[in-house]
Assembly symmetry: C2
Homo-oligomer: 203 residues x 2
DNA sequence: AGTATTGGATACCAACACTATCCAATACAA
DNA sequence: TTGTATTGGATAGTGTTGGTATCCAATACT
């Protein structure tokens, strides 16, 4: 298909498709002449993934580019590629402290590996720090409850990863980035539901 | 304290404090003369909240302003003020469709109120839509597992709300915005933990 | 008396994600 | 064949966001 058809199929404006090509997020089409190129279903899929990552997950294009790069070429070590891919998801933490005491305490309490090299460890530390700074520190009890429920979700996620037809990187990144908004929306709705049933509906 | 002390105490650059004053996120200090004003611990707290909402939760200042406004003056109806406050958290959905079929199906299946007027309903719909568009649609089974675990978290949250010393709005907004990054980081770390224990550590 | 700091105003800045315009070459339709 | 539409490619411009930086005269503090 031609570039205009690609734009129409995906709902992405033509000028934006060109922009993504310029930025290297989208592979160029196959040139069929000096001023014509053909695009495939792969391009459609790629654009859908970009759309999902930018608009649904809210990632900046720079990060999307990194992730797409890892999907295309995970390199040798799957485990570290997974880590890198997930590390390029927000929130971004460029620092790498030697120690993250809040995260460490929590992870040790719940019996999980504490590794300051994981990007998510820094994310957790800073998230916990932010709750404290705002005067909303989380009690041990709360963290325990959260950890247990979240573990339930994560275990399910990993079970399902093995049977997926997508590449593990793609599955992991998209599953992390795209399911997170679902989780948050569900929590908010559960709050509303419980509050409505308890406090009575708005009126 | 003077403005420079305020900046130092909170770690926010002086120019930025002035900027927040300009933008109306921070109340002006009490003038003690034509070129002097005093700031209080309330200003410190306010700045900490702004910092938490912008840097940890990643909110744009505009939204922070709305939330601070609701904290300061929730108006008459607590339930709708809570809804409004949470609605001003990302992801932002300006549309208000009459129907959100994916969200509706899910909520009915798990026995929760379906109300297209809740902002989170639109968020859920779009999040689910994005998973489908990227070829990562969630199965009923997965949604069921997620819903159950999340419900556990939300029920705990609501229990604890009643005994809080903060205003309900402040508790709800900060609890939503600040605990979300914690939840996401914990899920990512749980993934890493399970993967490491199953696939073997990086090496 | 002299230095430092203040509130307040204004100007400037870079990053981000597009959007628009222009071009000559070419595809395609009549 | 003639004319219109579309293409790849380049370049320039846009609006928003979240600040920084600079300047000022007035005023604190020492």
């Amino acid at each position: 298909m031609r570039i205009s058809a690609l734009a129409e199929r995906t709902g992405v404006p033509l000028a934006t498709v060109k922009y993504y090509l310029r930025e290297g997020l989208l592979q160029p089409g196959i040139l069929t002449g000096a001023t014509q190129a053909r695009y495939t279903e792969d391009h459609v899929h790629r654009l859908q993934v970009i759309k999902a990552l930018t608009s649904a997950a809210g990632l900046p294009l720079q990060k999307v580019k990194v992730i797409l790069g890892l999907i295309d070429d995970p390199g040798g070590d799957l485990f570290s590629a997974l880590g890198q891919a997930v590390a390029s998801l927000p929130p971004y933490r460029s620092d790498s402290e030697p120690e993250y005491p809040r995260a460490r305490a929590l992870l040790e309490r719940i019996g999980q590996i504490y590794d300051p090299g994981y990007a998510a460890t820094a994310q957790l530390e800073h998230a916990l720090e932010a709750t404290e700074e705002a005067g909303m520190g989380m009690t041990d009890e709360r963290l325990q409850v959260y950890a247990q429920q979240i573990r339930g979700i994560a275990e399910f996620d990993l079970q399902r990863m093995e049977g997926s037809e997508l590449s593990p990187i793609e599955y992991a990144v998209l599953g992390t980035a795209l399911y997170e908004p679902v989780i948050l929306a569900m929590r908010r709705l559960a709050h509303q539901d419980i509050a409505a049933k308890r406090l009575g509906p708005p009126g």
